[in-house]
Amino acid sequence: MNRRLAIRDLTLALGGLVSIPSWASNGWNANSLSISSSFFKTAEQNILEVIVETIIPESSTKGAKSLGVPAFLQKMLQDCYEAPVSENIKNGLSATDATAQKQFGKPFEGCNTQQKQQILLGFEKSEDTRLKEFYSLIKNLTILGYTTSEYVQTEFLHYNMAPGHYYGCVSVKK
């Protein structure tokens, strides 16, 4: 159910008994993600964006980048993780470029899709726990940001805030 419908149903359900509180009528637009510009350098932001898009790319369905997942990652890394973790992320971002240079003689951004995937999958299996943790956190946050986006929730995952019923035993739709 989208917000407008949810609010409409709320109004109906309450039969006009209670006035709609301020949180329901204001502040319903997309989050204004406040990210302090100093947290990631522009170069770091660019690599992060390319990594996120490599993990979940745009095709006939939307990818992570066009759903704003890179900004979400920055927000999360800035606000929710201790300094050693975000330090490791910064290190990982430069290691990504360094690996691309070493393996393919160009920056990560300049690699083709297959090369980029190869680098990241390499991190996943790496003996270097710091690289492994770097990729694992980026990947998990990317999946979290992507799967909880409005687009994925409403168009694919049948998100419905207020189903209004519970049936305990229905046939699976083929």
């Binding site: 949810a6 979940i56 929710c80 990241l120 992507y146 994925v152 519970y166 305990g168 035993c169 229905v170």
Partner: protein, 571 residues
């Protein structure tokens, strides 16, 4: 000056004082105000207005900046041990660090909700009645003391509170879990029904799976519409506050009702320090309150006082109410105040999978869950431990998407989750803890909280009886699940702390005799008859049922008794 003092005294005088605005305090307020008593409700936390103060209630997953995770700088304001449970969704109701430190002489988990509505905004809304098999427990099995009441005393009050609160459930016809005034039941799903059938067959109709009775208005009656509450929308986002009033909370139900009478004064930010005992009148005359904003001490006066701070706080307030007549706490000649603390044993958990009904699925959300009423030692002693346990039980189908790989494949598995090729089944025990004297709370001799109130010391631990019960639960449920054809059965003893169940009880128990109990059959202190304790503190034993419905019924019963006594000029 003298006149001014008299004026203030007059200004601060009410017919009744209610301490706490949670589940039980809300009921006290409603009943007393409806009967015409000018009532002040003193609540230590901030105000939370129904709907207006549920800021996360209508948020979608993507509306949360951190998708539920709490940022570090916010997290650091909360106690370390609880940090793992903090979520952006429920943060408005979480208790910050340092507000009320206490001393765990032995590990004890004490979950509190300090705001108007108390834990009624946070609870899981399960509402099961007690039966005489519970009230007669201490007498039959010789522990604690005999309850001064029986089911017949409380049954009409269960009906009274159920009709108003709105309880959904089936009439199951079980002696051990009496039926009540139920709204349309929520159905059990295929696997839960399957388990129900198996148990009836395999255990000679002595073990049952029912839908847990729960405080959700599935079909609102005129009394609920009058409260401004609407049909539960099956959102299962109840712990953010429900804008529909779909479930019972003080905020949605009892408090606005009390306010509408014009007789209620609600004073948030008011931490009750102690009860004032008047030696001449030989009864309580009022309470001392610390204003949590100004730290100023203020007195309020009334003819009757309802103590509803939640079980351990009610103990704390009475222990801290010291006078020449009661040097050990109000009404505590027996020395039993704070003793016989008990709770529910939630240690045992079990999970399993079932590969039947693979062509079936559930649709919508169930805000309740399946429930297995107590079947151990019901009519006679059968096991090597006293009493027994009930259990929650639930099954769900769930879906799965692989997080393996990268790129288009990963994306497609995330966008198109696959139905699990099994149902998952889980259960959690709710065992009766037998109260013992050694398990107690007391005041710390020197440590104080930020408001100058002594810190509470909790000293409670598991007994052999509890440990045997966990083992039996794990064995019996493994057997029952096996008989139902479930697989991959995993039973664990989580060894959680006492109190993790959030059903702490006792310390101010009811009983016949002032020598062996604190409260009489009307929840009044034997030795200070205008003070009523009707939250979990009054519980002589714990039963296996989620306790709040019983607190509601005892509160309504005591409030109506108190009003009657006031009319007869007995109080």
């Amino acid at each position: 000056m003298a006149n001014l003092a008299i004026d203030i005294k007059k200004q601060n005088t009410y017919d009744a004082i209610v301490i706490g605005s949670g589940i039980s305090g809300g009921w006290a307020a409603k009943e007393l105000c409806e009967k015409g008593l000018k009532t002040i409700v003193l609540e230590r936390g901030r105000d939370i207005k129904h709907i207006a103060d549920y800021p996360t209630a209508m948020k979608n997953p993507w509306d949360f900046e951190h998708r539920g995770q709490v940022p570090l700088d916010v997290r650091s304001q909360y106690p370390k041990g609880r940090a793992a449970f903090l979520r952006e969704e429920t943060l408005p109701f979480a208790l910050k660090d340092g507000i009320q430190p206490f001393v765990e002489e032995k590990p004890f988990t004490w979950t509190r909700g300090y705001h108007v509505g108390g834990k009624s905004l946070m609870w899981a809304r399960q509402t099961q009645r007690w039966s005489d098999l519970d009230f007669e427990g201490p007498k039959r099995d010789v522990f604690a003391v005999d309850w001064p009441i029986r089911y017949a005393d409380i049954a009409p009050w269960y009906s009274h509170v159920e009709k108003f609160a709105g309880i959904s459930g089936n009439k199951d016809g079980l002696q051990e879990l009496p039926d009540g005034e139920f709204l349309t039941p929520i159905e059990l799903n295929c696997v839960e029904q399957h388990l129900k059938k198996v148990l009836i067959k395999e255990y000679d109709s002595k073990r049952h799976v029912i839908q847990g009775r729960c405080a959700h208005v599935t079909d609102p009656q005129p009394i609920h519409l009058k409260q401004g509450r609407a049909t539960c929308q099956h959102r299962n986002l109840c712990n953010r506050g429900c804008p529909y009033g779909g479930y019972f909370s003080s905020n949605a139900s009892t408090l606005p009702w009390a306010a509408k009478t014009g007789n209620m004064t609600l004073r948030p930010f008011s931490t009750v320090h102690s009860i004032i005992f008047d030696e001449k009148l030989n009864k309580a005359s009022g309470v001392r309150v610390v204003d949590t904003n100004t730290k100023e001490m203020i007195e309020y006066y009334a003819k009757i006082i309802f103590v509803n701070g939640s079980a351990l706080n009610s103990n704390l307030i009475l222990l801290n109410s010291i006078s020449a007549r009661f040097p050990n706490g109000l009404g505590n000649d027996s020395g039993l105040l704070g003793k016989f603390i008990a709770w529910h044993n939630y240690r045992g958990k079990i999970s399993a999978e079932y590969e039947g009904f693979l062509d079936k699925i559930t649709d919508g959300k169930n805000p309740s869950n399946g429930y297995v009423p107590r079947f151990r030692n019901l009519h006679s002693q059968e096991t090597d431990f006293l009493r027994g346990y009930a259990a929650g039980v639930g099954a769900g189908r769930g879906s799965y998407s692989s997080r393996e790989g990268i790129g288009e494949d990963l994306k497609n598995s995330l966008l198109f989750p696959k139905l699990n090729n099994h149902w998952h089944v889980s259960s959690w025990m709710m065992g009766e803890c037998v109260p013992i004297e050694k398990n107690h709370v007391r005041l710390h001799e020197t440590l104080k909280d930020p408001f100058g109130i002594p810190q509470l010391v909790t000293s409670a631990e598991w007994t052999d009886n509890d440990v045997k019960m966990v083992k039996d639960y794990m064995e019996q449920f493994t057997e029952m699940f096996t008989k139902a054809g479930f697989r991959n059965i995993k039973a664990v003893d989580g060894k959680s702390n006492p109190g993790s169940d959030i059903h702490e009880m006792g310390g101010v128990r009811m009983g016949h005799d002032p020598k062996t109990s604190l409260l009489n059959q009307w929840n009044a202190l034997h030795l200070c008859k205008n003070v009523f304790v009707t939250d979990g503190a009054c519980m002589t034993s714990t039963g296996t049922q989620n306790p709040s419905l019983t607190y509601m019924a005892l509160t309504a019963r005591a409030a109506n008794y108190a009003v009657g006594e006031m009319k007869k000029k007995n109080l």
